[in-house]
Amino acid sequence: MLVLFLALLLIFYFIIKKVFPTIAIIATIFLAFSPFAMQIAMHNIYIELGLIIFLSCLYGVLWMPRYPKLIFLTIFLCILGVYSFQELTHNSPQNGYLFIKELQLSEQRISYSGSTHFAKFLYNPFITTVQFYLQHITQYFEPHEFFFSWSYTPQYINPNLGLFYPFDLIFFLAGIVYLFKKNRLGLYLFILWYFVIIFPVALTNHQPDPIHILPALLSIIIVNAFGFVYLLQLLKKQ
């Protein structure tokens, strides 16, 4: 388990070094000591394995411009990664992708309003589903849950801890400010990375689970590292 965790840190370091060399060490240290990474590493060996495959795939993509033949290995890893995550996140169809409970509530409201066309329009299943989908998405934007107390899935994470430390919030905000000012492309990349992982996960009826969004959490680590470096620069200037 420890070896896998070290391997994870190593591959993470090399990826960040390739893309953002200035923050590679800081980001790796942040990952090594982050509450979510430590707790998940202790919890499940397969999750770490899945994440390593995912990162290896990403690493392969980064080297592809120089070594085009890596595409074969990357595709293989990609398939393996998708398979691993499918297994690891238990996203089996029986867990459900529909918001059945909410749709029932919608039907009740239509019925209470006398089943008028107006009520059917206001509470039509499509709009209700979209609204609850948005609700699911916002669960992944809760600063309190991420930085103070993760209450959704206490089986993996100590509910007295967030996925990150509270002081990480300061680094995160500083990181956003830095990216907004100095590296707009990096900010867009972060937003894209985060949303690409959140959107499909939010389709399920599951409570938010850090295991489902592990790659997205890595992007937060990177922003935190940017924030840390930015704050250090500001301190130095003063």
Partner: protein, 518 residues
């Protein structure tokens, strides 16, 4: 924009605000909660006798249920109760009127705020949008239609800042600002921390101007200090619990350890909880603080709010400082308390959200205006349709579905129960009302419009004692130990043991609310 059009739009928005706050005011929410009933009856008592339910003459603070509510709301409710009689409508009317005034104040406040960095041709338009957003705001409508002191305090805070900003040009307005802020700190608990912090911040931002206008600045300080009299009075009397009782009841410091680090951590944690997108845009907190399936703001406001916030961050002038002073200080009082996030304690956030959203809408509109006509149509029409859809949906949820789904939350059933007691009390020697029901005595006094002079002649509300009004006794019921000889009618909560049920009152969702048994 022509002045006539501005005035016309201003009046139309004000009419919309008035309609949304006054229409069916007594019936939505379905019934008054215990706090509203207490504020209403105390206002009635003050009107008739000059004393509150405990017999205290012209009090600054109402003891109420031991939560020491500031008495300003009850004083404000006296004219409406004198005019319309003691009713739910009359009790809620001051809040609704102050809500309408807050909407009007938002227009002028936004105009003054945007004017800090120099007026441009769209200042008035943004002010009108901010005003409209507050007029239709689920958060503001929710608390403008119930007798909550927080809503009154918010209006005073809005006008306090507005008068302060006008005072930067005409110094005499500093005095009005201090009067408005003075009322705010005497109306609700949150402003007692928020207002001093804002004033310190404003002093730091406008130090140079304020020190140039010493005469009015000192006059404003003197006038403002008059409003500290109730605080000084109670502290000098050794009754500081009347001022700080509620704060210590809800404070995290009372419940948590004396560990300094731990307390700071909890305050920081509480502060961060108020920036939850789910709380703001999706679900709200306590069901009494929002309509079903509704957040505190519309979901479509989220992107515009974000754009507006970015616009404000990018601005370098005084506007940014004053806006973020308000926006970032607003959750601090609530952060010191439990049960967070809390929509009432952070009501003073308003109208900062609406101002940022209005700026976001303006930015988006300017961006869209530069596109081709086809793009304008393809983006503009669906966006406006989504806005209208969610506004209509909210109105339906608030005015139609909420009474049905949240009747339990709004303590429905007491009016019916009081009518039943009034009809049957002559048939029984005694009626015993369980104290497991939520403060039933105040609902009895409220709905029967019980003569306050008679009530006070019998001792008024007892402090931790058994309430008795005529042949009605309010005490705990131990079913197995009661006489049950058909000479006594018992009114119980739905959860209590009973037999020989004679009448049952249900909530709108058909769950039992309270029952009568012999």
């Amino acid at each position: 924009m022509k002045k006539i059009i501005i005035v016309g739009l201003f009046l139309i928005i004000l009419c919309i605000a008035a309609f949304l706050r006054l229409w069916h005011l007594g019936g939505v929410p379905i019934s008054p909660n215990w706090d509203e009933a207490a504020l209403g009856y105390n206002a009635y008592s003050l009107l008739k006798t000059g004393k509150d339910e405990y017999g205290i003459f012209l009090p600054f603070v109402l003891k109420s249920f031991g939560n020491y509510t500031p008495a300003v709301y009850s004083y404000l409710a006296i004219p409406s109760i004198a005019l319309f009689g003691l009713s739910v409508f009359a009790t809620r009317l001051p809040s609704a009127i102050m809500g309408i005034l807050a909407v009007a104040g938002t227009f002028f406040l936004t105009k003054e705020l945007l004017g800090l960095d120099g007026h441009n041709k769209r200042t008035t338009l943004v002010s009108l949008i901010a005003m409209f957003l507050l007029a239709i705001s689920p958060w503001h409508i929710q608390f403008s239609r119930v007798a909550y002191e927080a809503n009154i305090a918010l209006t005073f805070c809005i006008y306090g800042l507005l008068f302060f900003l006008i005072g930067l040009r005409k110094s005499i307005w500093f005095v009005f600002s201090s009067i408005s802020y003075g009322f705010a700190i005497n109306t609700y608990h949150s402003p007692r921390l928020f207002v001093p912090l804002v004033l310190i911040g404003l002093f730091v931002i406008f130090k140079r101007i304020l020190l140039q206008q010493t005469k009015y600045f000192i006059l404003a300080l003197i006038v403002g200090s008059i409003f500290l009299f109730p605080f000084v009075y109670y502290v000098a009397q050794g009754q500081s619990n009347q001022i700080f009782g509620r704060a210590s009841e809800t404070s995290i410091f009372t419940k948590s350890s004396n560990n300094m680090f731990g307390n700071v951590y909890h305050v920081f944690e509480g502060y961060v909880k108020h920036f939850s997108p789910q709380w703001i845009f999706i679900s709200g907190d306590n069901d009494r603080h929002h309509a079903p399936s509704t957040g505190l703001l519309y979901i479509w406001e989220a992107p515009f709010f974000l754009i507006g916030l970015i616009q404000l961050i990018k601005k370098k002038g005084t506007l940014r400082k004053v806006f973020f002073l308000w926006f970032l200080l607003a959750p601090i009082p609530a952060s010191l308390t439990t049960e967070l996030p809390h929509a009432v304690r952070t009501l003073i956030f308003l109208p900062s959200f609406q101002i940022a959203t209005a700026m976001g809408i303006e930015t988006a509109a300017v961006w869209l205006h530069k596109r081709l006509v086809i793009k304008r149509i393809l983006i503009g029409i669906p966006t406006i349709s989504i806005m209208i859809f969610f506004i209509l949906r909210y109105f339906n949820l608030y005015f139609y579905q909420m009474n049905h789904e949240f009747s339990q939350v709004w303590q429905f059933g007491y009016e019916h129960a009081v009518n039943y007691v009034e009809q049957h009390k002559s048939k029984y020697q005694q009626i015993v009302v369980s104290t497991q029901l939520e403060q039933p005595y105040i609902f009895y006094l409220f709905y029967t419009k019980y003569d306050p002079a008679t009530y006070l002649a019998h001792g008024g509300t007892k402090q931790n004692g058994i309430e008795t009004i005529d042949n009605i006794v309010f005490r705990p019921i131990y079913w197995n130990k009661e006489n049950r000889d058909h000479t006594t009618l018992y009114m119980l909560s739905a959860d209590e043991a009973y037999s020989n049920e004679v009448h049952l009152i249900r909530y709108f969702d058909s769950q039992p609310a309270m029952r009568f048994a012999e």
